[in-house]
């Protein structure tokens, strides 16, 4: 009798293949039932069970199957099989590392030696936004490049015209630690959430007398704090990350859960949507030290990176969408290319010992702005791996940094209760 209930099933992604299960049936006490959605036809109906096959032949689709092995089989060789499975997993991991290693024929910073050095930056604070009564935990720019929304430990969310320093809206949430906020693409609403385990959407009214808080609508419901939120390309869908270890996609109008993303083994602290008109992926980072890339359609984890040595506080895509950066409590920021499926740069210094809380790219992707728990913002040359500049000014931890949509300015939010807008 075979040890492996999956023997006889060829499951292969990226190639023309048929999953045939007739041969997988072992002696009578074993029943293999295959369920799941076919990644190619996206129909929600089961592939087939128990004997059957499904074929697909489009290069970049994934077939994901969930194999439920009947109880009798499970009862039989529990302990032993777990150990041998773990061994198999280990072997595969080593093999994968080996394979990826073969593709690392050169380091990014070596190739970048021929690129011209960035001229010395002289970045100055141009605006200081005062008004929050406690630590500012998060902020997001509006697409109009001058408005922004910020949220604080004091339960308040403020919408500012950062250019004029005008506070346009104030929203009060019934909880402290509002860790996530986002501006809707239309500019007509904001989303916010945190310790209340929810993410709510608040439509912004042009009428100054109207109480915007009253129109607040709960959209996302998690079983632990909401750490991050982002609208997709539309006001109608909201993506959230949570301390409950999952990410989720919600329909704003109905509050319906459209897709949930499982795979992290600890709190998810950050997410970022791929900057593509046609893309359907996003990246998330969490306390399990992993950065995962997800397919929004299937809910599947398609790539994973575990190079960091502590919590990943923030993840952000490179402008082309082919790469992303992460910031971690291990005091480093890292850069990964999705096509090479590999970390390609580490940004660190002996003198930087405090965790990095947030990262964002300049418009061309040449510069990486990183906010740290030592109150500073370090500016890195993404290609060469060197530090270009360090910005002082905040009087407490920097919790979030975001470049404005047209790349003209950098906004930083801090535990010193202020936000600063800076530029060269």
């Amino acid at each position: 009798m075979s040890q492996d209930p999956l023997e006889g099933c060829r499951i292969s992604a990226g190639k023309k293949s048929a999953v045939s299960l007739g041969k997988a049936l072992h002696p009578p006490n074993l029943l293999v039932v295959v369920e799941g959605t076919c990644g190619a036809c996206v129909a929600a109906s089961p592939v087939s069970a128990p004997e059957g096959s499904c074929s697909y032949n489009v290069a970049h689709h994934h077939l994901c199957v969930c194999v439920r092995v009947c109880m009798a089989w499970q009862g039989l060789q529990k302990g032993e099989t777990l150990a041998s499975l773990k061994q198999e997993s280990e072997n595969l991991r080593r093999k994968l590392e080996e394979e990826r290693g073969k593709l690392t024929d050169v380091e990014l910073h070596q190739v970048a030696e021929k690129v011209e050095t960035v001229a010395a930056l002289s970045i100055k604070t141009r605006r200081v936004l005062k008004g929050h009564g406690n630590k500012v935990l998060s902020m997001d720019w509006c697409k109009d490049k001058r408005r922004l929304v910020s949220s604080s430990q004091d339960g308040k969310v403020i919408v500012w015209d950062a250019f004029t320093l005008n506070k346009e809206h104030g929203i009060t949430l019934p909880c402290t630690w509002v860790m996530a906020c986002a501006y809707a693409p239309s500019g007509c609403a904001v989303a916010c959430g945190g310790l209340d385990n929810k993410c709510s959407v608040v439509p912004l009214s042009l009428d100054r007398n109207e109480n915007v808080t009253a129109k607040k609508k709960s959209v996302a419901m998690h079983t632990n704090y909401v750490s991050g939120c982002s609208f997709t390309n539309s006001d109608m869908q909201l993506l959230t990350s949570s301390g409950d270890g999952t990410c989720a996609l919600w329909d704003v109008e109905s509050g319906q859960l459209l897709q949930s993303f499982h795979g992290h083994t600890a709190d998810v602290l950050s997410l970022d949507l791929a900057p593509s008109e046609t893309g359907n992926t996003f990246v998330s980072g969490g306390c399990d030290m992993k950065a995962n890339v997800w397919d929004m359609r299937s809910g599947q984890n398609i790539q994973s990176f575990d190079n960091h040595q502590s919590d990943i506080n923030c993840v952000k895509y490179y402008p082309s969408g082919d790469a992303f950066a992460s910031a971690s409590d291990d005091a480093t920021c890292r850069f990964y290319d999705l096509r090479a499926d590999r970390e390609v740069a580490v940004y660190q210094k002996d003198s930087i010992i405090f965790g990095a809380s947030s990262v964002d790219f300049s418009l061309s992707g040449r510069l990486l702005f990183a906010g740290y728990n030592d109150y500073t913002i370090n500016v890195w040359d993404v290609l060469k791996g060197t530090r270009v500049s360090v910005l002082f000014g905040h009087e407490n931890r920097v919790s979030r940094v975001r470049v404005s949509p047209d790349g003209t300015a950098l906004c930083s939010a801090s535990w010193d209760n202020t936000l600063r807008v800076s530029r060269t």
């Binding site: 860790m179 999952t246 590999r342 109150y375």
Partner: protein
């Protein structure tokens, strides 16, 4: 409701979680201060300084510390060394002997090192009773150096009111502490007193100073003994009155990985092994090319015309961007890729205009219609999907698009249960078609070239939104 997750292994026994984010930073700072004090290994000389009639034991100058940091941590700018040193001081690892404010100065100011007993890594959360005992005993000793600062006197007054009922107890504890202190050697006392004071400067900072003991609530649960009784600085037994520290509780109990988990891992790893990946040299070139292309558009790297928002009060730059009259630089971007062209509303309009002139706009209109459908609320998606089918794909559709039979088959299958992604394949296919065929021609067209070379100005008769809706308007007819 989104489900919870599994924890990766349970919390350790009585051991502190060495890999918790706070502990990582503490250990790094401790490594630094240990190295600074190690005179034999290139550390700073810690000496006794004579001052008038007395001696100041065990001190170092701020300048020496700054020098050490610059040399041993490869710091070029003294400002950076001062900043790092000040943070180490703010966490209580070093402190000025004559100031409650914990910063590092690059001069002759004298500093002392904190005793490991008081290090933050021991996870102190001293209660107000301890603080009251401390302030109280300070007032009992007739020494100038132990006089209370204004804010401390205020704190003491407030604590006396708050602990009115048990003040006798506190007073007795303070007396006991004074007795213990008196037994110590004079020089030793000076050092211990200053270290104790520095400890309280961290946990009850001067008003206006950063309280470095504040925690990020998302990281709290992994702290050492989050639920255990808090340890008293002066050995005062816990009377059950202390509040437990704020901790957010995991929604899932810790779980060992199951066979199912490992099987999923194996499936995932196999998929990764099958993935075709590019060499680093190739992706590096690609990243460099992309960055190079957009460098001139990056305001942090290149100079920007005409005027810069944020520095002046002029918003001309933004007004120009918002106007439908794209600059040559902006038009140039449309030539980088079809994605870039479609990202820009003006680019989209021009491309559509070009296609209309060729009577082949149905592809782009289909693509735009699907994009719009995906942005609708969940409830509307189904009906929109049907409308799109009627307009572009059904037999005798008014704006019939050309799909290969396979995609067509699959799409019509999808439409039996229409969803947001029903048209993914079709959209992909059409996008590739436009990219390889009409987009290339667009870039060579007069419409594009005129704008690129600023031969003609753009004229508009309608906004993009109406172009997308045109499809449905025709349909409802």
């Amino acid at each position: 409701m989104a489900e919870g997750s599994k924890d990766r292994g349970g919390p350790g026994p009585a051991e502190p979680e060495e890999d918790s984010p706070n502990m990582i930073v503490y250990r790094k700072m401790e490594d630094i201060v240990t190295r600074i004090q190690d005179e034999k290994a290139g550390g700073v000389a810690i000496r006794t300084v004579k001052s008038f009639l007395s001696k100041i034991p065990s001190v170092v100058s701020g300048a020496d510390i700054v020098q050490w940091l610059m040399k041993n941590l490869s710091i070029e700018d003294p400002a950076e060394a001062i900043h790092l040193g000040s943070l180490i001081a703010a966490h209580g690892y070093i402190f000025p002997i004559n100031d409650h404010v914990l910063t590092l100065k690059d001069d002759g100011t004298l500093y002392r090192f904190q005793s490991p007993y008081f290090w933050p890594s021991n996870c102190w959360e001293p209660e107000n009773t301890d603080y009251a005992i401390y302030l109280c005993k300070r007032t009992m000793q007739n020494k100038a150096r132990l006089e209370l600062a204004d804010y401390e006197a205020e704190n003491l007054a407030r604590l006396q009111r708050a602990f009115a009922r048990k003040w006798e107890f506190i007073f007795m504890q303070a007396e006991a502490q004074v007795k213990i202190d008196r037994k110590k050697d004079k020089a030793e006392r000076k050092i211990l007193d200053s270290q104790e004071r520095a400890f309280w400067d961290v946990h009850r900072p001067v008003p206006g100073c950063v309280n470095t003991t504040e925690m990020d609530i998302r990281k709290c649960r992994r702290e050492k003994n989050p639920h255990r009784v808090k340890k008293s600085v002066y050995g005062v037994p816990d009377d059950g009155q202390s509040q437990p520290s704020p901790v957010h509780v995991s929604s899932q109990p810790a779980r060992k990985p199951t066979r199912e988990d490992v099987q999923k891992e194996i499936t995932f790893l196999n998929t990764q092994l099958d993935r075709h990946c590019m060499k680093v040299s190739k992706v590096a070139d690609s990243l460099m090319t992309y960055t190079e292309q957009f460098l001139e558009y990056d305001p942090f790297v290149s100079a920007v015309d005409p005027s810069i928002p944020w520095i002046t009060d002029d918003t001309t730059f933004w007004d120009l961007e918002a106007s439908r009259e794209p600059s040559q630089q902006r038009v140039k971007k449309w030539g980088f890729s079809l994605e870039e062209a479609l990202k820009d509303p003006a680019g989209r309009d021009q491309f559509l205009k070009f296609l209309e002139s060729e009577f082949s706009s149905e592809n782009l209109r289909f693509w735009l219609a699907v994009q719009d459908m995906k942005r609708r609320p969940h409830q509307e998606v189904s009906s929109r999907a049907q409308e799109i089918w009627q307009e572009f794909l059904a037999e005798g559709a008014p704006s019939s698009i050309n799909l290969d039979s396979h995609s067509y088959e699959r799409t019509s299958q999808n439409l039996k249960d229409p969803g947001r992604y029903s048209y993914e394949d079709a959209q992909d296919h059409i996008f590739q078609l436009m990219k390889s065929d009409s987009y290339a021609r667009f870039l060579r067209s007069n419409i594009y070239q005129d704008l690129l070379l600023a031969r003609k100005k753009v004229s508009y008769t309608h906004t993009p939104r109406s172009l997308i809706c045109t499809a449905s308007v025709k349909r409802l007819g």
